[in-house]
Symmetry: C2
Subunit: 237 residues, 2 copies
């Protein structure tokens, strides 16, 4: 069996990526990054998803991105927007987050001797994050192949797989459902309520609800605020 | 004044880089990474150096590279070699360390709005680390310029400065001495003794001693074991 490091956030995208990697025959080492995000329900979801989808191992590594601030996801003084899509890069963008997360995946892959990294980046519904663009991912891959022993010793290229890159949210959900992913285990909301319910209004909830609507499927997650934004097609039904 | 993030390890290379950046007129935000290294005296040295060389701010960010193991610098079960230079990549190489550290510098630079990062990589006495090579650094720079808001919004390229890249250790030390760096504040040893003295035998001590010999200067650091390896020319004199 070929080993792969799978970045697992606990959201629906990375759960789908794990299902795809397992289905392709990889032994999956799942890596979650505790970067001080305010929506820590994600990390609990990642543990559930790793277990349910047969990961060989699941590690949570702590980094201190909150020390730098600058994002609504790591700085409690910046409010999570709930007004729907805007132009430009949203305030929920975490500076250099994907670069930091991929760097950790690279470190673990090197220690494991793995040459495959799976990452749920998506360029369709990517909310304007610079580090979800295909040109960024290609540049990271080029850098990664020079960064490690593998690059020096010529033991085959490291591959960064982004199987969701060109899928719509609806296609991602349909793919996962076909592979048996239980999306009740996943978590997407940036700003959950006091009883752990999803807000239904943040960008991430809106994208998720739109995706389930596109997939013609029911979202099993409980929402507190279905009135705002996207119609909750199928949600909870 | 133009702001720059300076990666500061506490060793003599990064102290010299800080002195060069200050001398060039940058306002310096120094960043040290606590990556679980066994030679934690480095972090104390970094704080001393930042203060002595007029950094605007010094932050230490913790990351958990030790969770992955794989290096004599982060895994207590792997001995630090003291037998002098070998061929290939040494066991003191920390997987993806420079990629992780530069990623953090990138994150802080983005939050600060800084477009300059200073890093003491060196390709002459680099001990065979893949992530000190110029081609790696060029690839990181290309990636970094696609990773952040700056890359999307076209607000000028991010520059990664590696002023030591082509210098010998002796040239680095001579440069720093000319700028008034007090190398007594710095720390290089991978395997210090019980009273905090440098071992004089690890790769890092050997390179340092060789550098002071080349520079024709005295190394003010105290060594416990001057017999092994490089002759301690000028050390402590």
């Amino acid at each position: 069996m070929t080993s792969a490091v799978v970045l697992l956030s606990g959201g629906l995208d990375s759960a789908t990526v794990l299902a795809l990697a397992r289905n392709a025959g990889y032994t999956c080492y799942c890596l979650s990054i505790d970067y001080g995000q305010r929506h820590r329900a994600e990390l609990d979801a990642a543990a559930r998803v790793a277990q349910a989808l047969g990961a060989r191992e699941h590690r949570v590594v702590s980094v201190d991105l909150a020390a730098f601030g600058g994002s609504a996801l790591t700085d409690l003084n910046i409010a999570v927007p709930t007004g729907g899509a805007t132009t430009g890069i949203p305030i929920t963008y975490v500076p250099a987050r994907n670069t930091v997360m991929l760097s950790f995946a690279l470190a673990w892959a090197e220690v494991l001797g793995a040459r495959h990294i799976f990452f749920g980046a998506n360029a369709v519904d990517y909310s304007g994050y610079p580090d979800c663009r295909p040109e960024y991912l290609a540049a990271f891959s080029a850098m990664a192949n020079l960064a490690t022993r593998r690059g020096v010793e010529g033991r085959g290229r490291l591959a960064i797989h982004t199987p969701l890159i060109a899928m719509t949210k609806g296609e991602i959900i349909r793919t996962g459902l076909d592979l048996g992913v239980d999306y009740a285990l996943t978590w997407s909301c940036y700003d959950p309520g006091p009883r752990g319910e999803a807000c239904g209004a943040c960008d991430s909830c809106r994208l998720r609800l739109k995706g389930f609507a596109e997939a013609g499927a029911a979202d099993p997650v409980v929402y507190s605020n279905r009135a705002a934004g996207t119609a909750p097609v199928g949600a909870g039904s």
